[in-house]
Symmetry: C2
Subunit: 354 residues, 2 copies
């Protein structure tokens, strides 16, 4: 029986992608070889890498604008240090909107003067800071567009004269914004792009090569750009499956089309929370995420009951993160609206029963 998978990440992927990925492991391009056992320098895989990077830039409308796309390893956590290693010379500003930006700031401090420009820690990160001033001498400003744990999201991208650097792990490819506002975007694959094991980095080439420190090869964006993500053996399977997901997204109409669906799903679920006396939303309404819907029961005595209703409805992955508690429904690109309706039905059931 079909599961309704609201996992925060690794998370749901399109079923067609999962089937293609499974087949590619048995036999890639009718070669009678598994994708896993061919050289990454082979024609078959070089084409996969080229196609994945091209699709990523096309979907974000960043082709021919001075950007390069590379597929790296180590997740967003490796980017916390790589961004600073490559770009922090004098001072960098961080807007701290949760656990991940806290970590990004901590790692940057290994490399220089990284400053917390604003934070919403005073309210357990349930909102996006809005009124803050930026020093004029920043090498870059770093933000996390969507905060998976707390369910908040930047709806207005900060205006700044310096380079805007962004962890977009949990909302890349989900909504139509002007991506050229960013000088560097990074995103772990395991939400809207593919399986865990690769990280997409999109970087404006002109911002590189400006720091005075020596950068080890594997941590140097320029090295990976020059070698087209093949400085060493790339994570072949994760890149292949990311390519399949980007193909799927392109085929169904790209970011504009998926944004409409994501807004529809989010509106439906937030309305259900707001109109149900048993539940309350965690994030401030104006900062609510389109990807991660955080909510809680007003009365914890209903928890056992609601958990059982979810279980019976084949709903999985809705437990909230320990730092927020309650529930978190992650409604990424690949989650169909029918799953959202099943969750709402469980919430309504609880209402009838208590």
């Amino acid at each position: 029986m079909k599961k309704h998978n609201f996992s925060a990440g690794p998370s749901i992927l399109p079923r067609s992608v999962i089937e293609q990925a499974s087949n590619g492991i048995l036999n890639i391009n009718n070669s009678n070889l598994s994708l896993l056992e061919i050289s990454h320098r082979s024609k078959d895989f070089v084409e996969i890498m080229d196609r994945a990077t091209t699709l990523a830039l096309d979907l974000l409308n960043l082709n021919n604008k001075g950007y390069k796309a590379i597929f790296l390893q180590g997740g967003a956590s490796m980017q916390f240090l790589m961004t600073a290693y490559n770009l922090l010379e004098n001072k960098a500003g961080y807007i701290n909107t949760g656990a991940w930006s806290t970590k990004a700031l901590k790692e940057a401090k290994n490399f220089g003067n990284a400053v917390e420009v604003a934070t919403s820690k005073d309210a357990n990160f349930n909102y996006i800071p809005k009124n803050y001033s930026l020093d004029s001498d920043l090498d870059y400003l770093h933000i996390t567009t969507n905060n998976t744990i707390f369910g908040t999201q930047f709806h207005d991208i900060p205006k700044t004269n310096t380079n805007l650097i962004c962890d977009m792990s949990s909302d890349i490819f989900s909504r139509n914004i002007d991506f050229s506002k960013f000088s560097l975007i990074y995103a772990g694959a395991q939400k809207n792009m593919g399986p865990a094991g690769t990280t997409l980095v999109i970087v404006k080439e002109e911002i590189l090569g400006k720091v005075s420190r020596t950068i080890p090869s594997m941590l140097d964006y320029k090295v990976h750009i020059d070698k087209e993500s093949m400085f060493n053996t790339p994570p072949v399977f994760a890149v292949y499956t990311s390519m399949l997901t980007l193909e799927w997204l392109t085929k169904i109409g790209g970011i504009k089309s998926i944004e409409e669906k994501n807004i529809e799903k989010a509106n439906l679920l937030y309305n259900a929370i707001d109109s149900n006396d048993l539940f309350n939303g965690f994030a401030k309404k104006e900062d609510r995420s389109l990807m991660n819907v955080t909510f809680n029961l007003n009365d914890q005595n209903h928890k056992e009951h609601f958990d059982r209703l979810c279980l019976e409805a084949n709903i999985s992955g809705v437990n909230g993160h320990r730092s927020v508690g309650g529930y978190r429904a992650s409604i990424y690109n690949a989650l169909d609206i029918s799953s959202v309706k099943v969750l709402i039905e469980a919430m309504n059931q609880l209402n009838k029963l208590v």
Copy 2:
């Protein structure tokens, strides 16, 4: 029709592992969820990670000897810098036996005084250096046990009083040596262990925490050990498939059993090269690798002919690396002896035809 896959890496995996990996992507542990879309904190995946690390230590006979096994990202290339970042305080020695140890030495120099103790560069790395002296003040000595490109292998592990650090990417789990001679072993998965995308690091805990520099979290072995390879989202699929391969190896009798098979395959192929007037081996006989057999035609005019014979016999991946030329047959754990016989038959065919 079955391919005989001699690819140097990513390379052949057991067919049963490929089939299980393909199935796990469709449905893991009868959960009706793909391995790719479950949380890495879920019971299903935590068990996979535990089992993979336990199997690795068991197979190497390193359980209860002060070692920890962790699965990281970034390949051996990331280990070139991580080993130095974590361990190089005053001076480190490197035995340079080819392209990979050259790179390891280069990256270590970013962090301190890394010295080339010995090299076989004078003969295009076709042998393993044997007579050299080691300074008494080394933090560690670094070797590459098997040299994929040149087809050489350390048959005697160097004796040293300092920590022995080893890149074992292309011969881990292939032969029975005393692994407790090493303080740290690292290996990219994509030869004898699994798909590209994860790196196994086995480290004696007592050697860590001795350098004075601050280490960014993602580059700090202690962080990954403390978090049991879950400091951040691990490369789920690559770890799962590695676990499957380690299960397969355990089931067929472990390293002692596979070593016998590997010796049999290598002897067969080297004998065929030595007894065929048309071919010559590249590596010095006493340093020949059990994993990568490098050889060439005595007369390049036969190349087109031999390439066609290989193609007709469904042999793939035997082109030599550009820095050596000729041919390279990689005969890793998962390659059956029947494939070696097919290659030898093609060599004999050439002999009959010219």
